[in-house]
Each structure stands twice: as structure tokens, then as C-alpha cells.
């Protein structure tokens, strides 16, 4: 194991190399570009043996990846924002075709207004495609997750594509020390991709044909079953990785100082690293606070959410995007799990950091203060869904 200073994008490229991705169709988009640049270099330097297909769009990137997977090759690609949106149709196809393509998405805002900065709208809009979704908070986790995602996605019981999310610039372009595992160790962990069914001239079969209504529903139910089965596998793979490397990401959810916590902030990505730091400070002050960081969005960690619900007074849900007309997406997801729960905790939605706006320690502290206050006194004037830091006077000036 070698420690290197890597950006999130370089960690992604190393992950693909160590996972021995065989076909990589990709198209450049800011801030994903250095992933494809690094992959091109790794192949050019002879360190990586993969076919890099320089496609003319993200739609074609995903289509070529699916076809490569159907042919029996391990396929990987990376994109961001509008590129992921362009892939939408083929993400659906990859899931239905049961082709475990692994896609890294650098989370970036959707335009207009044009913005290249961190925002979770791109991935949240793909929640219903049937793709497994991993969310990372640092560059080590990105590298490790690329390898783990292949193992989960390619499992014969799962066979679904996987999306790995990392925040634009905060991770993609920020260097951190990253342990680069030995190839030999990764090879032991991740066997070669060998799908049961593939395009084969010696055993000709047709893939993905028309199915009539009496069967279509069964195929979709099988997808749903595999997605549900992924929960246990993700936990198992996380434990196996920990045995090999000493690193665990909490399986389905990363819970930080949640054991005796009364107030929890739940959210995804890099802002949760900041939040963990603040929790350490507040713990020193005797505050019973904790962080639940989204690790897996699909399948949703409902057991983990309910585990927390049994223990805490309030959950503040931080959303780095919005579902127009229906609150923040994570807020909806969490609340959906709590409706049938006995004595659910109080919840409030904080829409924050949208379009790459900074989320700094003072903000996190303010959120905890607000959460404690509204849990006791009820929602204030700003209501249940609070766009935190909006320049409309709803957030106290000293807290912005």
C-alpha cells in the first residue's frame, strides 16, 4: 500500500485501474475532465489495460458501456451534471438490462443558471432509474468505493449498475493523502467479471427484447428484489474491505457519534465532513449531537434511519438541492421511512450549500441550535423547509 496525494478525480482513475476496468467509454465534462485525462494517461503509460472509447456524448458513453458489459467486459465511465442527465435513458436501460456498469458522477449543479459547482440535483434526479447509488465524502472513500461498487454491482444476485457520487471541486479537484491499495490485494478482493449470460457467437441468444404485459411486471419485481438484496451485500463488502484495509464506511450509512445523540444532522457529501468536525467541538461542550452521513441512497438505508428514529429527538435533514414542489429529496426520503414508525422524531429540512455555496462550521452549529429550538417550540416563521442562508432575511445575519 502506497500513500499518494490524490484529487478525487485521480482517486477515481486509480480506482478504475485497480478494479481492472476493461472498457471505458467516456466524454469530458467539467469538473469530471481530469478523470478521463488521468485514465488516458494511465493507459498511455502502460499502467492500465483498458479500451478507452472516446465517444461523442455521455449518452453514447453509457450506451457503449452497457453493450461492453453485455459482451462480458467490465465497464466503467464517469460524468457529471448535464452529462448524467443526458445518460438518463441509458441508466434506465443499464438497470433493466442488468448490466453492472460503474459510473462515477462528480456532483455539479444543473443549469440554468450555468454553474459548475457542487450540488446534488444531478444524482437525486436519477433516484428512480434502478442504479445503486454510493455517496462519498473524501478521496479515499472514492477510490475504495469504485472497487467495492464493482463487487456489489457484479454479484450474480444483484447485477445492477452503480453510481458513485463525489462533490465537484471539494473532492474532484482537492488533493488529499490517499492509500493506494496493492493490485494483488484488490485482485483477491474483486474477481474478474464473468457474467452468467453474455453475447456469445457459440451460444447465440437475444438480449433485451420485447416482453408482453403478463411478464414485464415480474422482470421489474426481480430488479426490485435484487436492489433490496444489495443492502446486505453492501454491508458485507464493507466489512470485507475493512478486514483487508482497516477502512469501513459504515456499510449502508455512516453514523458518527450517534450512539447517545439526541440531535442528528443527516446529509450527503463533503459538508458532512465539516459537520463531523463541528460535532466533535459540540460534544466537548456537552451537547448530545451526531451526524448520519448518507452512504447509500439506493437501496435506501431504511433500517438505519429507523434505528436512529428510535433513539433521537430530532433529525435535521440537509439537502444540497431541492425537489421543486416537494421539499428536499433526502428530507422526503427520511420522512417516508418515519411515517409508519412509532413515535417518530421531529424532523426539519435545511436546504443548504446549493450550487457550491460554502457550508462552514458556523452554519452547522447554527443548524443544531435551530433544530433544538424548533424541536422544542415548533417550526418558526420560516417553516418546515428552510432554505438556509438565503439572502431574504430568513436566516439570522450573524449565522450566515
Amino acid at each position: 500500500m502506497v500513500k499518494e496525494l490524490l484529487t478525487g478525480n485521480k482517486a477515481t482513475a486509480y480506482g478504475a485501474m485497480l478494479a481492472r476496468a476493461q472498457v471505458i467509454p467516456a466524454y469530458p465534462i467539467t469538473p469530471q475532465t481530469t478523470i478521463v485525462e488521468r485514465i488516458a494517461d494511465l493507459i498511455s503509460e502502460g499502467r492500465m489495460e483498458a479500451k478507452f472509447v472516446k465517444v461523442e456524448s455521455e449518452h453514447s458513453a453509457m450506451a457503449a458501456a452497457v453493450a461492453a458489459c453485455n459482451t462480458g467486459a467490465r465497464a466503467f465511465t464517469a460524468t457529471s451534471s448535464h452529462g448524467l442527465a443526458l445518460m438518463h435513458e441509458v441508466l434506465m436501460w443499464a438497470a433493466g438490462a442488468r448490466t453492472p456498469v460503474v459510473v462515477v458522477n462528480v456532483n455539479r449543479a444543473m443549469g440554468p443558471p450555468w454553474s459548475v459547482w457542487a450540488d446534488h440535483q444531478d444524482a437525486m434526479a436519477e433516484r428512480d432509474t434502478g442504479i445503486i447509488q454510493f455517496w462519498c465524502e473524501n478521496n479515499q472513500e472514492i477510490l475504495d468505493t469504485v472497487i467495492m461498487a464493482h463487487k456489489v454491482a457484479e454479484d450474480p444476485d444483484i447485477m445492477l449498475p452503480a453510481l458513485i457520487n463525489q462533490d465537484a471541486f471539494f473532492l474532484s479537484h482537492t488533493s488529499e493523502p490517499v492509500d493506494v491499495p496493492d493490485q494483488e490485494m484488490v485482485d483477491r478482493f474483486l474477481p474478474p467479471f464473468n457474467p452468467k449470460e453474455k453475447l456469445d457467437v457459440d451460444d447465440p441468444k437475444g438480449f433485451g427484447s420485447l416482453v408482453m404485459p403478463p411478464q414485464y411486471m415480474e422482470f421489474r419485481a426481480k430488479m426490485a428484489k435484487s436492489m433490496d438484496m444489495a443492502r446486505d451485500l453492501i454491508r458485507k463488502v464493507d466489512r470485507e474491505w475493512e478486514e483487508l484495509t482497516g477502512r469501513s464506511y459504515g456499510g449502508m450509512m455512516d453514523m458518527y457519534r450517534c450512539d447517545d445523540a439526541e440531535f442528528i444532522l443527516f446529509g450527503a457529501g463533503t459538508m458532512m465532513s465539516t459537520a463531523k468536525d463541528v460535532v466533535d467541538d459540540m460534544r466537548n461542550e456537552g451537547r448530545k449531537v451526531g451526524i448520519a452521513r448518507l452512504r447509500i441512497l439506493r437501496p435506501f438505508p431504511f433500517e438505519e434511519v429507523r434505528y436512529l428514529a428510535d433513539r433521537v429527538k430530532a433529525i435535521g435533514v440537509m439537502d444540497r438541492t431541492y425537489t421543486f414542489g416537494q421539499g428536499g429529496p433526502l428530507y422526503n426520503e427520511v420522512n417516508a421511512q418515519l411515517y409508519n414508525h412509532t413515535n417518530p422524531p421531529f424532523t426539519k429540512n435545511y436546504v443548504i450549500g446549493v450550487g457550491g455555496r460554502d457550508v462552514i462550521p458556523r452554519h452547522i452549529r447554527s443548524l443544531f441550535d435551530d433544530l433544538e429550538k424548533v424541536q422544542e417550540n415548533g417550526y418558526g416563521e420560516e417553516g418546515e423547509i428552510h432554505w438556509w442562508g438565503l439572502l431574504d432575511g430568513s436566516t439570522p445575519k450573524e449565522e450566515m
Binding site: P25, V53, E56, G72, E89
Partner: protein, 304 residues
């Protein structure tokens, strides 16, 4: 077998498929598979051929086939080829088999990418001059004057207002090594061109004129004979472009366009002045082709 056959006897397409009576696109598939043989992987996007092999679990195709979203044929065959290369599997033909709408319209971006990268695949556009699987809507490949369900005649004469898109010229602009046109009425020529294409490395493109009795409002028994009239009226021309050099592979004696048009319900509304305009356009296109042939052959001869 004692019989003297002019095309390979082996069948890789079975009966029991869902093609309409007299479907030219099924003939096209039958001949392409006869030419390509068993060591072939097919990729088929949304089009008539996405339905015709049969409803799951049936298929009339005896080669592996991958169904893909409408606009992805080019990307899909590139992905298959890249995977075969990565897996070290050689001597396998990779063929995309898409309709005219899936090629000239929605799929042209991915096809352009494949051709630009010079990926080693054969792309076949079976051309029935409209979106037939969805019920006869106009495509870029629909000829001037045609009735379709989206270019109705009505009282205003809203028939198709632009000539057939010249897809082979678009492909020629990519500088790929082999481009050809063929038609189901001449299977020997079609099979020769497919075999030739598969013997060349790089991206190859073949446009197969494939009559659709359903969409053309035509007697299905005429599927073969109508192609001969298409050629003699210059409504479709048979040629190949090998490394930029044009060769017209059939130069039939000209016959009047009107006779060809009046056999098909999709054209019967056309007034004489429109027919004259279409005919003039087709004659010009054919003359241009003759000039291209002469010019490129002369140039190739002088450079040798």
C-alpha cells in the same frame, strides 16, 4: 444439394418472425446474415427489427443479438467491439442493424462518433423511407412528395416537403473505407457488398433499400419488382465508395418515375408538376453520382 443457388443456402433467420407480408426488411436481414455467417454479433435499436425477431423468449435470429435504445446503435457496436478487443476475441463480425429513422435522424450522432473513431464495425441502415414500426411517420429518409401519417395530403397538400436525406454522402464525409448501397431485390449484389465490407477493417456503412408494403400502401407481392423500378427511375441508386472512389454498381436504362410512383399508395396523390420536380431532382442526383464516379476513378487511376 443439386440445386444451383446464387446466394448461400445456410439460413440464420428462422420463419415465425413478426414481419408483415412481403417485408423487405426481413429479406435484408436474411441476406445480411447469409453473408456474415455465424460468427456475428448483431445490435438492433428500436425499429421494426426490435419487434420482428419475436416476443420473449422467441427469436428468429440464430446469432447473438443485443437490443438497444433508439439512438445508440453506433455507440453500442463500438462498445461490443471494444469489449471483444479487451477480451481478446477476434474474427467476430459486429453489425449494427438500424432503420432509416434510427440512422438518418435520431442515431446519426452516435453513428458519426463511431465512424470518426474508425471503430471496426459494419453499420447497416435498412431503409424503408419512414418510421414504419411506429406507424408510417416521415423520417429524414422519406422522399419528396410522400404521404405518411405525419405528412398527410389533406386538403392543403401537406405531403413531405424535402428530398430524401443523403446519408451515404454524410458517411462519405467521414472518410470511412467502405460505403455501399444495396437493395433487397438484388440479393447477390447485397451479399457481395456485405462480404466485402466485412473483409475491410474500420467502419463500414451499407444502406439497404428495403420496400415496406404496409407503409408504402403497396401490394406485398411487388416487394421485389418495385426495387427494380426504384433503380431504373433513379429513386434509389446502387453504388459503392471504396476509399473515396465511387463505383456505380448498376446502371439500368431510365424509365418514367410516374410508373414507379403510381404502384404505391403513398405517392398516388402527387400532381404531375410535383412528379416532374421530383424526377428532375433524382436525375440531377444521378448525374452527380456519374460525375463523382468519373472524377474519383480518374483521380485514383492517375495517382497509381
Amino acid at each position: 444439394m443439386m440445386a444451383k443457388l446464387t446466394i448461400p443456402e445456410e439460413e440464420l433467420m428462422s420463419p415465425g418472425h413478426m414481419g408483415c407480408l412481403g417485408c423487405g426488411a426481413t429479406q435484408a436481414m436474411r441476406y445480411v446474415l447469409k453473408a456474415a455467417g455465424k460468427r456475428t454479433i448483431l445490435s438492433i435499436p428500436a425499429c421494426c427489427w426490435a419487434v420482428m425477431p419475436g416476443v420473449w423468449p422467441n427469436t428468429c435470429l440464430q446469432v447473438p443479438e443485443l437490443y438497444t435504445p433508439f439512438e445508440t446503435t453506433g455507440a453500442s457496436i463500438s462498445g461490443i467491439r471494444a469489449a471483444l478487443d479487451a477480451l481478446g476475441q477476434e474474427d467476430i463480425n459486429v453489425i449494427g442493424f438500424a432503420g432509416d429513422g434510427g440512422t438518418a435522424d435520431i442515431g446519426i450522432q452516435a453513428l458519426s462518433g463511431t465512424a470518426d473513431r474508425e471503430d471496426d464495425v459494419l453499420y447497416i441502415m435498412y431503409d424503408n423511407e419512414a418510421y414504419m414500426n411506429t406507424g408510417i411517420q416521415r423520417s429524414g429518409s422519406t422522399p419528396l412528395g410522400t404521404w405518411t401519417t405525419t405528412t398527410p395530403v389533406g386538403v392543403k397538400g401537406d405531403w413531405e416537403k424535402s428530398p430524401k436525406k443523403n446519408v451515404t454522402a454524410i458517411m462519405a464525409a467521414h472518410g470511412i473505407p467502405y460505403i455501399a448501397t444495396a437493395t433487397t431485390g438484388y440479393p447477390e449484389d447485397l451479399i457481395r457488398k456485405v462480404k466485402k465490407a466485412l473483409s475491410i477493417k474500420g467502419t463500414k456503412f451499407i444502406q439497404i433499400f428495403s420496400p415496406c408494403p404496409t407503409g408504402w400502401k403497396m401490394d406485398p407481392a411487388l416487394t421485389v419488382s418495385i426495387t427494380k423500378e426504384a433503380l431504373s427511375t433513379r429513386a434509389f441508386n446502387l453504388f459503392e465508395i471504396e476509399n473515396g472512389v465511387y463505383r456505380i454498381t448498376m446502371k439500368p436504362k431510365k424509365t418514367p418515375l410516374k410508373e414507379y410512383l403510381m404502384k404505391q399508395g403513398r405517392f398516388r396523390h402527387m400532381p404531375d408538376d410535383l412528379i416532374a420536380k421530383v424526377e428532375a431532382g433524382l436525375d440531377t442526383a444521378y448525374e452527380n453520382l456519374l460525375h463523382l464516379e468519373e472524377f474519383t476513378q480518374k483521380k485514383a487511376g492517375s495517382s497509381q
